[in-house]
Subunit: 242 residues, 2 copies
DNA sequence: CGTGTATTTGACTTTGTTCAACACGCGTGG
DNA sequence: CCACGCGTGTTGAACAAAGTCAAATACACG
C-alpha cells in the first residue's frame, strides 16, 4: 500500500473494470502486465494437467499482481468478482522503478510479505487438519475484512465459493461444508446466508486454528529438540576459518 | 548467484563454519543477520505449538537466508550439515543496498524466485498424492545436485533424513519410506545406501510427479473451464470507466 | 414461480497415519 | 573382537481423517 508514490503510479497506469470470471494472467503465457487491485478480489492459482487446482491467494484491494522476472507467468490470476484494477505494462513499471529508487525497496518489501504469507500457508497445507485449516482461513479472511468495514456489525462477506475455499485449503467441497457446519453447531460461527459469515467466538476459533485444542497426541516431528538461544549463539560464534 | 557484486559482498561479510544442528535463525527472535550459504544445506521451517513441523526449503549453496523486513523472523533456519556461510549484519547489508542499486533489483529477483518455488510447493502440499510428492521432490533435488556434480556417475547424496523429507512434503516418515521402497520395486530408483539415491528412470519419475500417470479419475476442481486467451483479451480490453 | 447451480448431507471407500515390531549400521566399552 | 545400546530406516496391521459418490435441499435469477 504505497503512499506518496500513488500519484506517480496513477499517471503510469490505466484504470480498468473487469467482469467476474475474467482471466487476468494465464500460466505459461508470455508475462504481460501488472495489476494493482483497487476493488474486488482476484484468485491466484495454478492448475495441474488433470485439472486439480491450488489457490495461493485471494488478492484483495491493495494487492499488486504481476509475473516475476521470468518471461512467462508461473501462475494464473482470475477475477473472482467484478474488479477495478490499475494496469501497468511491464516496461512502464520498470521505467518507474528506475526513476523512483524507493519504489524498488517497496516492491522488495511487498515480495517478502507475500513470501511470509506463502510460508504460513505452506504450514497450513502440509501440517494442519481440516478444522484447523478452516479456522485459520476464517480468521485470516475476517481480520482485514472487519478492519476495512464489513457489511454490518460483525457480518463478513465471503466472495468466494465453497469450491474456491476448498482449492485454497487443499480440501474438497464436502469437507469444507461439513467443517463449517460443525463450527455452526458448536456456536463458533453462523451463516445468515452461505456467503455471509458471522464469527461468534473468535477466541475459540483461534484456539482451533493453531491446534492448541484437541492436540493431546504428541507428533513425531522435531518436538524434543529445544534449541534455545544458547545453541544459537554458541554455533554462530565459532571462529571463522574460511 | 550474483557475479560482479561478489567481491563487494565478501568485503562486507564474515565467513563462518557452523556445525550440523546449529540454529542460524529462530522464529520470533529479533531478526539478526543474513546468511549466504557457500557449502552445506540449511533447512528453513516453522513449528506449531505442539511440535508439528513444516520445512519450506532445503537451502543449498548459493542461497541467501534472511528474515524479511519485519523485526522478528517468521521462520527458523537450522544447519542440516556442517556449513560454510557468509554472514552479513542487517545494517551492513542495507548499507550495501544503498551503495549498489543493482543489488536491490537482484534481491527482488531472488525473492520472486523463492516465491515461485514456494507456490510450486504449495501446489504439491495441497493437491499432490504421496507418490507425486516424492517423485517431485526427488526430481527437484536431483536436478541441481547433478548439475553441480554428484558423488559419482548418477549417485545423488540426500543429506536430509527421512523425517526431514516427511516434514518437507507434509507426510509421515513411514509413508516416505514406503513410497521410496515402492519406487525401488518399480525400478524407478535405487538406494545403494539410505542416503544415496540413483535415479534409474527419470522419465517415469517425471510422469509420476505431475500426475500424468494414474490420473484416470476426473477431479472436481476447475477442470471444465477452458479460459483461453480469447476470454483473457476480451476481458482486459473492456473500456476503462474509473 | 420454475429452473439451474451451489450447498448440504449421508453412506461408503481410500489414502495415509498410528502404533508396534524389527533390521541395520555404528560407536563404545568390556 | 564382540556384545550392547542407540538412532535411523523399514515393514506390517489396525485405524481414522478426509475423499468419493450419490442424492436431497437451498438459493439465485430470469
Amino acid at each position: 500500500v504505497p503512499d506518496a508514490e500513488l500519484a506517480d503510479l496513477a499517471a503510469a497506469s490505466s484504470v480498468l473494470q473487469i467482469p467476474a470470471g475474467a482471466i487476468l494472467i494465464e500460466e505459461d503465457e508470455p508475462a504481460a502486465d501488472y495489476f494493482f487491485v483497487t476493488h474486488g478480489t482476484v484468485t491466484i492459482f495454478k492448475l495441474m494437467p488433470d485439472g486439480r487446482r491450488q489457490i495461493f491467494e485471494f488478492a484483495g484491494p491493495g494487492s499488486l499482481i504481476g509475473p516475476g522476472a521470468s518471461d512467462t507467468s508461473a501462475f494464473s490470476a482470475e477475477a473472482l468478482e467484478p474488479l477495478r484494477v490499475c494496469r501497468f505494462t511491464r516496461s512502464r513499471l520498470s521505467a518507474l522503478l528506475n526513476r523512483i529508487p524507493a519504489m524498488e525497496r517497496r516492491l522488495l518489501e511487498l515480495a517478502n510479505n507475500t513470501l511470509a504469507a506463502a510460508r504460513e500457508h505452506m504450514l497450513l497445507l502440509g501440517r494442519k487438519t481440516a478444522r484447523e485449516r478452516l479456522a485459520s482461513f476464517l480468521l485470516a479472511w475476517s481480520r482485514p475484512a472487519l478492519a476495512r468495514g464489513a457489511l454490518s456489525e460483525r457480518t463478513i462477506r465471503l466472495p468466494m465459493s465453497r469450491l474456491d475455499i476448498a482449492d485454497y485449503l487443499g480440501l474438497t467441497i464436502e469437507t469444507v461444508c461439513r467443517v463449517l457446519r460443525q463450527f455452526c453447531a458448536e456456536n463458533i460461527i453462523s451463516f445468515p446466508t452461505p456467503s455471509e459469515l458471522v464469527i461468534r467466538a473468535s477466541a475459540a476459533l483461534e484456539r482451533v486454528a493453531d491446534g492448541t485444542v484437541l492436540a493431546a497426541r504428541q507428533p513425531r516431528s522435531a518436538a524434543a529438540k529445544v534449541p534455545t538461544a544458547a545453541t544459537h549463539y554458541a554455533a554462530v560464534a565459532q571462529a571463522c576459518a574460511g
